[in-house]
């Protein structure tokens, strides 16, 4: 208990700016986890989002290499990652639309190739670059610039979803019907993937590439147990994400453990608990 209390005093203390940064990163990430996570869940594209998030490591590796070797001085890993994320989103999106039979193979290949490129470039980058902080997140690396970028993407996603909620709901529920109604369903699909790709790059600072997909599915899945519609799912999923992020950060501080992993474990346990609770409730109703 004393540890948790020390977390809150650290949160408001000027001596630990990284704790405050991590808290704000968690809060700003929650909006993306909640909104995009709900879209990814109802569109059933979690595996595509997972592949994109892992392929992003390739972009980070290339950007680190180009910057450290002076080939493209001052290139931020973030910029490389965003370019690579968009490219892999386009490739994965096209593979999903065009090659229905080989979809799985192509997606898994992009996932693996992206990660491998990242590892290779990082190994050849002069100086020390540790893939694990990108893979599992490192709250010490969260900068003020990251927070501004997260805020900007939050605003863009909120505007896009509130403006095109009707089209999004229709394509997720019944794509063929939406197409007959004149909605460019393929373009909607590619935009969702592209926005998710950019979001993954920004979100990995908080939970890491490997665990981003967990936070894009677990809070939305938990919200899905009680939500009456997609909008409600988005709101409650955002609230769940905020609770899991803050609890993970506090627990990470209290037990001196990696925050990203802590957040995902809390979210996962809560989801499984709800799943069990709902299964028991259903069984009791039947008997």
């Amino acid at each position: 208990m004393g540890n948790i209390a020390s977390f809150f005093s650290a949160l408001f203390s000027p001596d630990f700016p990284f704790v405050r940064n991590a808290f704000f990163a968690g809060a700003l990430s929650s909006i993306l986890f909640g909104l995009l996570g709900s879209v990814v869940t109802v569109k059933r594209i979690a595996s595509l989002a997972g592949a994109i998030s892992h392929a992003v490591l390739g972009g980070i590796g290339i950007a680190l290499y180009l910057s450290a070797t002076g080939k493209v001085p001052h290139l931020s890993p973030m910029v490389g990652a965003i370019i690579f994320a968009l490219l892999s989103a386009l490739l994965i999106g096209t593979a999903s639309l065009k090659s229905k039979q080989r979809e799985d193979t192509v997606i898994q290949a992009i996932w693996a190739i992206g990660m491998s490129i990242g590892v290779l470039f990082m190994a050849k980058t002069p100086g020390y670059s540790d893939p694990s902080s990108y893979l599992f997140g490192n709250i010490l690396l969260i900068s003020a610039q990251d927070l501004w970028l997260l805020l900007a993407l939050d605003i863009v996603v909120i505007i896009l979803i509130s403006r095109f909620y009707a089209q999004l709901e229709a394509t997720a529920f019944d794509e063929e019907f939406a197409q007959v109604r004149g909605i460019p369903t393929q373009a909607v699909f590619l935009v969702i993937l592209a926005v998710t790709a950019i979001a993954v790059v920004l979100l990995q600072t908080f939970v890491g590439i490997v665990m981003v997909i967990a936070m894009l599915t677990l809070p939305a899945g938990t919200a899905g147990f009680s939500a009456k519609n997609l909008a409600m799912m988005m709101v409650s999923s955002t609230i769940y994400s905020f609770i899991f992020s803050t609890a993970g950060l506090a627990a990470g501080w209290a037990f001196d453990a990696p925050v990203g992993a802590m957040v995902v474990v809390i979210a996962g346990l809560f989801y499984l608990g709800m799943l069990l609770f709902n299964a028991l409730k259903k069984r009791r109703r039947r008997s």
Partner: protein, 254 residues
């Protein structure tokens, strides 16, 4: 009926997937206000024909005119009821929200006035009391009627129903045909079904996807006359073929 504008016109339409000829030289038309049944055995190309009508596939050759324009341009005037929605039961959505989807457009948002149209469409399928019920809690037959309401909510010029009564209980089927009978004459209705022997008494004309041709390896569409069986059913007379491009009055007058 012949004086009314043509609702759908196929002229020499052929369609093939990469190495598989499905339809060849399909020519038929029907007019606004007609109640048409398109019948054919499973795997005969009914779904393909439907996709061509909805502009989801392009013909390999020939032309299709839907409500005076290309299918892609006119398809938003169609109320389409798919056979089933590959639907995720965990998708959180209410009956009213599914129906409202029938008014979705490529750029516009929903308006509050859409609520009245949703209630009207649900009343047409006798499901207005279930507007706030989660869609996942409905029976299969009830869901199909919700999809009919979704098709009706935009007051379409033409209603297209793919196998509307497949796996439907008797009561739901009776209610569905009750809804369609109220629309007959006002809205053009096209029903696609695999039941080749008989159709609802509401049907004016029936088009049949023909047997596989040995010479072309694909199928075409022919028209068969109908004979009244009772108040609810008509029998398809497969022994007699009428040119598919002949109109209703011409068929009647022989």
């Amino acid at each position: 009926m012949k004086d009314k504008p043509i609702a759908l016109k196929f002229s020499g339409v052929s369609f093939s997937y990469a190495h598989l000829d499905v339809l060849s030289d399909v020519t038929f038309h029907f007019h606004s206000g007609e109640f048409i049944a398109l019948v054919g055995p499973n795997g005969s190309g009914k779904t393909t024909l439907l996709k061509l009508i909805l502009g989801l596939e392009e013909p390999t050759s020939g032309t299709i005119e839907l409500l005076g324009h290309s299918p892609k341009r006119s398809r938003s005037l169609i109320g389409y009821v798919p056979q089933h929605v590959s639907y995720d039961p965990s998708f959180p959505i209410s009956v009213g929200e599914v129906v409202r989807m029938g008014m979705v457009e490529s750029r516009k948002r929903y308006r509050t006035s859409h609520g009245e149209a949703v209630m009207k469409a649900l009343t047409q399928v006798e499901m207005e009391t279930l507007v706030n019920r989660p869609y996942s809690e409905l029976s299969g037959g009830q869901r199909r009627r919700v999809l009919v309401a979704r098709a009706l909510v935009g007051e379409p010029a033409m209603l297209v129903l793919d196998e509307p009564t497949a796996n439907m209980d008797r009561e739901s089927e009776r209610r569905l045909y009750h809804t369609l009978s109220a629309l007959k004459g006002e809205t053009t209705i096209l029903i696609v079904t695999h039941d080749m022997s008989q159709v609802s008494a509401l049907v004016d004309r029936v088009f049949c996807i023909d047997a596989l041709s040995e010479t072309t390896g694909s199928r075409t569409v022919v028209q068969h006359p109908l004979e009244d069986v009772d108040d609810t059913t008509k029998r398809v007379l497969h022994d007699t073929a009428i040119p598919a491009d002949q109109c209703w009055q011409e068929v009647r007058n022989g």
